[in-house]
Amino acid sequence: MAGLLGAMRAVFVRELLVFWRRSTEVMTALVFFVIVTTLFPLAIGPERRELMLVAPGVLWVAALLATTLSLNHLFASDYQDGSLEQMLMSPYPLSAMVFSKIAAHWVLTGLPLALLSPLLAIQLALPMKAIGTLVGSLLLGTPTLTLIGAVPAALTLGVRGGGVLVSLLVLPLYTPVLIFGAEAVAASAGQGFASVAHLSLLGAFLALALSFAPWASSAALRVSLD
């Protein structure tokens, strides 16, 4: 088993190295997140009450779109240069390799996004007491988004216009995460039920996605590369 873990770690390191050297790709999703959330106060106006009302939704939709934007980088370059083909020939289960890839991808896209969100939340006049929930919900939610998104990303490899297709496929699947994520933040901002319930549901989604997404996307990869 040490061999499998070693291989998974090597895939993880490889992804981090590659993404690090192509930092522009990592940055685009993050910059997108910042710009979109900044546009809202400009459009709505400086009225704190109105901003506070839309803040949870805006932050979550922006995070979701930023994640969708980054999905194309998950497999595309490895597909083009043939590394993915090689990964299919690995002596270890493909789903384990895919899991490592997704984990690395999240560390470079979802994690910075969650860590950056408090700054943007202040800009949207989100009450201080809700910021902890915001970060928590994004930490639980964004890995789920990346995991779910990996399946259509794998399925559309080699399809012309795959990028748009991924968005179309993935956005409907994201709705439950969006609903409970935004609701959790709204709740702790004092607009609804307690946020713990929503966060637990987000946790449940994450557990579900963890169990099926690596397996489903590796099956999708085999189909795409046949």
Binding site: E85, P91, P93
Partner: protein, 201 residues
């Protein structure tokens, strides 16, 4: 079968340890498809492929752990250096008992020592090809499946690759090679794919 087109039928071949097969045939006949099916990347419509007497589809990763495949695509990540590419390959793809030579040694063998620390995207076509072939040494697998391994290689590299394949056979390894290029390898068997193809429209 590729798409809805049957490429070949009634095909049967076997390979013993220490043997190499040179698959020949004109363009578009399905040589690559055959190789991809043989190494488990795609499934044949009918028929079966066996490895040490067992069906490949049942063996799964036990089979892929025995194959090294170098396809049309080099499988090199351009943003990593040549030696990083190889080192990670060996970490990701080898089980402990299969550890081949080290990344540095493999680079030496294919004549890329000087390029070890350059990003792979700066390498020339031929150098990239050699880097892809260096994987064979790092992995130490019994079955080599090589799709046009000689493309973009210079004369000296062609000779040294033939030599490598020869050494591989001498240690009981198997090799399946698709190539249009003439190369010198004693004891290699020719396999003409055209015999098994349906009359084409």
């Amino acid at each position: 079968m590729r798409g809805d087109r049957t490429l070949f039928a009634g095909l049967s071949l076997d390979l013993a340890p220490g043997e190499a097969l040179h698959v020949r045939g004109p363009n578009g006949l399905g040589k690559t498809t055959l190789l991809r099916a043989l190494c488990g990347l795609s499934r044949p419509m009918r028929g079966e492929i066996r490895w040490r007497g067992q069906k490949v589809s049942d063996l799964g990763e036990e089979f892929t752990a025995e194959v090294a495949y170098v396809g049309h695509l080099n499988g090199i990540q351009g943003d990593l250096t040549a030696s990083e590419n190889l080192r990670l390959t060996s970490q990701i793809f080898t089980r402990r008992k299969q550890q081949g030579v080290s990344a540095g040694e493999a680079l030496e063998r294919v004549g890329l020592r000087a390029q070890a620390d350059r990003p792979a995207r700066h390498l020339s076509q031929g150098q990239k090809r050699r880097l892809a072939l260096a994987r064979l040494l790092v992995l130490r697998r019994p079955l080599w499946v090589l799709d046009e391994p000689f493309t973009a290689l210079d004369m000296a590299s062609v000779a040294s690759l033939s030599c490598l394949i020869g050494e591989h056979m001498a240690t009981g390894g198997l090799a399946l090679i698709v190539s249009h290029q003439a190369f010198d390898l004693p004891g290699i068997r020719d396999f003409e794919l055209a015999h098994y193809c349906k009359a084409r429209k």
